[in-house]
Symmetry: C2
């Protein structure tokens, strides 16, 4: 109960499940974790999800690299996760804020992904304006797909999509409203994607 006030730590977290829809799901997940350089983030896996925490740039870099590496196996993969910053209990793991900013995963292979996201700026009376502003940004960046209940569709090349997500996550929080949550569901190599 001691962590009921929001912190000021710059730590970003991403708690996710990576679900390769294949009988070999264990090998696919292990392969991604072995091939991706995760040394710049704190990573912990339990029986439901994996969490990575550290500087924002590293968290997004590792998340994208895991998705991309898994995608290259060709199997249908779902990535579902929640990015968060600002609250609560964000004092743990601060060691990883000492890491150099230089990103460690550089694979630029093109890969179509279709995804949906939702922003939850906490304790913010005008949070809908924040959300609509970031949807406008998606349209400007050329990655907006469609509107829907409770989410917005974002698609395109994985690098453009993750660039947008990091930009939106940066701009949707502020000094006055530090606690931000962003959910992302991503579908890769789906049989529904057709010619994309």
């Amino acid at each position: 109960m001691e962590d009921m006030h929001c912190g000021t730590s710059p730590i970003v977290g991403f708690r996710f499940t990576l679900s390769p829809m294949t009988n070999d799901f264990v090998e696919v997940i292990k392969g991604a974790l072995e091939e991706v350089d995760t040394s710049a983030v704190r990573m912990h896996t339990d029986d439901v999800s994996t969490v990575i925490r550290g500087k924002q740039g590293h968290v997004f870099n590792v998340a994208k690299a895991l998705a991309l590496h898994t995608a290259k196996t060709g199997v249908h993969v779902a990535l579902n996760g929640t990015f968060s910053a600002g609250c609560p209990g964000d004092s743990a793991g601060d060691a990883y804020l000492d890491k150099p900013d230089e990103q460690l995963n550089h694979d630029r292979t093109k890969q179509y992904v279709s995804s949906q996201f939702a922003l939850y700026p906490m304790n913010h009376p005008d949070y809908m304006s924040v959300i609509y502003r970031e949807i406008e940004r998606a349209k400007e960046r050329g990655v907006f797909n469609e509107s829907m209940h409770d989410a917005s569709g974002i698609h395109g090349d994985i690098h453009d999509v993750f660039d947008f997500y990091e930009e939106a996550f940066t701009h949707a929080r502020s000094e006055d409203h530090r606690h931000l949550v962003m959910t992302v569901s991503m579908s890769i190599n789906s049989p529904s994607h057709g010619g994309n």
Copy 2:
């Protein structure tokens, strides 16, 4: 941009992805959708997720039935989704609020599940108190597993777990704070679950 104010509709939505980790994922998903009675909710599937919307009791009943039916195939399944109520644009689909309250799926087969959830009461200055109150409720109900960054672990028999989730979702919103979001990640038949 016309939907920037929160609604007063009692509609509950659940947007989710169901990911059977098997080469036969299409058959497993289709089988669940055929076997479960979804006639009391509006359902729409796109290339990333499925959304069900309607009266709260039906939405939770259908969500559990889909998870349980998929579980009975024995394959490892991940269910990731977001329950929401209260905002925005909740006027569409009101027809389903005419449905009788009687639930349509009654399978009581026991099934261990491990899951994690997070509550996001929107525009609520004291949202952390709401969250901690529902974590206390999980402990009282005997389904609390562990605390972690950005989520809380909930596990046990699927019926107890879903009963808790519906109860928490009910109590975490109020007349003054209608817009509530609850994310749930559930792991079923995981090789990590061991003797459970």
